[in-house]
Symmetry: C2
Subunit: 213 residues, 2 copies
């Protein structure tokens, strides 16, 4: 993914770390739910591995917050309500929709936090960006979703719709992490290429499922 | 914990590994649920750490199964229904009961698998027993449960009752992992000191909450 400069709109590093850490926690929660409701033992085992990766990212970000001398719970608290609401609106109606939620929202937001992270200097930021670049297990999610679509082609069109709905809510939660200045039009112009880039990555993600974004 | 010989009643190592791995997966699922329903950000963060430990134990046991050349999902499949049922009957009615479930059932069964593991020779068994001896984060569970009881003493008596109910179901699932021989009375005599030991550890666990077992 190209570097697009979001520097001017980046929140302060503590806010970046806190939002990212809380988001990984909610990804883990959603993954925990899909593990618990998985129809086969094989799917459970694969998804547990994906959940472990989200949890490890969360832990690594919490460790950064602690290293700065901040309290993780206090740091995350201001972002909790907004991200909980994002989690609520992106909750799927069944197991497959929830798999797509895990795949689409985490994929988009990991990309977004990589781009946003380019705006910081220092080792903490470098380490954090490396966290988002870690493998997320998306290939396991893709395999499970594709198996579902292969077995039931009508599922595909439902999941394509669901993916479109998700990307809107995910863009909103990403935008809410940005700090807008006085000149709103300039800021919007700055954001546009970033979101164009993120949506292109989203389209490739849906393509990997054989679905139209 | 003293070594009590369960050798004669131990399942074959693959069955031991598979049951243990699937149990850690269900502990993780229950922990995922308590993370998602935690009332504070602080509790969420602490419980995510506990969930990560269960998940790491699960992964380590899966790695042992793979190292033997077995398929993890196939290996766990025969035990799934029984353990899922155990998970169902030990599901609490609220957040605190679920915390006690995580603390009591995982504590008891980790102890049990350590004892059972003494019956095997070889590196795989040694490594697996070391997995159950890893810290489980029980001190975090104790702190959260105690804070709840301190704030509401009536909760204590309800959780004491719940702990008694749990130990019965947990003993049953532990017993179901044993392979009984032709002479049932001899086997029962062999099991008794083991369960006496495990119940003593359970009593200490409830004591740590200030509750009577």
């Amino acid at each position: 993914m190209e570097r697009v400069d979001l520097h001017e709109l980046s929140p302060k590093l503590p806010a970046y770390l806190a939002q990212a850490a809380y988001l990984q926690l909610t990804f883990f929660e959603t993954l925990g739910h899909v593990v618990a409701s998985a129809p086969t033992t094989e799917a459970k085992i694969a998804l547990a591995r994906v959940a472990d990766r989200a949890l490890d990212k969360h832990e690594a970000l919490v460790a950064e917050i602690v290293r700065r001398g901040d309290d993780p719970a206090q740091a995350m608290e201001p972002f909790r309500a907004g991200i909980d609401e994002f989690q609520r609106v992106t909750r799927g109606n069944d197991w497959y929709e929830n798999l797509v939620t895990c795949y689409v929202t985490a994929g988009f937001l990991d990309d977004f936090f990589v781009l946003l992270g380019a705006g910081y200097t220092g080792e903490a930021a470098t380490r954090s960006v490396a966290v988002f670049r870690r493998p997320s297990g998306s290939e396991d999610l893709v395999a499970l979703i594709q198996a579902g679509i292969d077995a039931n082609p009508r599922l595909g069109s439902r999941l394509a719709m669901w993916g479109r709905r998700l990307v809107g809510d995910t863009m909103l939660v990403a935008r809410s992490a940005l700090v807008f200045g006085a000149n709103h039009d300039t800021d919007e112009a700055r954001i546009e290429p970033v979101f164009t880039e993120l949506i292109a990555a989203h389209t490739r993600r849906m393509d990997a499922l054989g679905l139209t974004a």
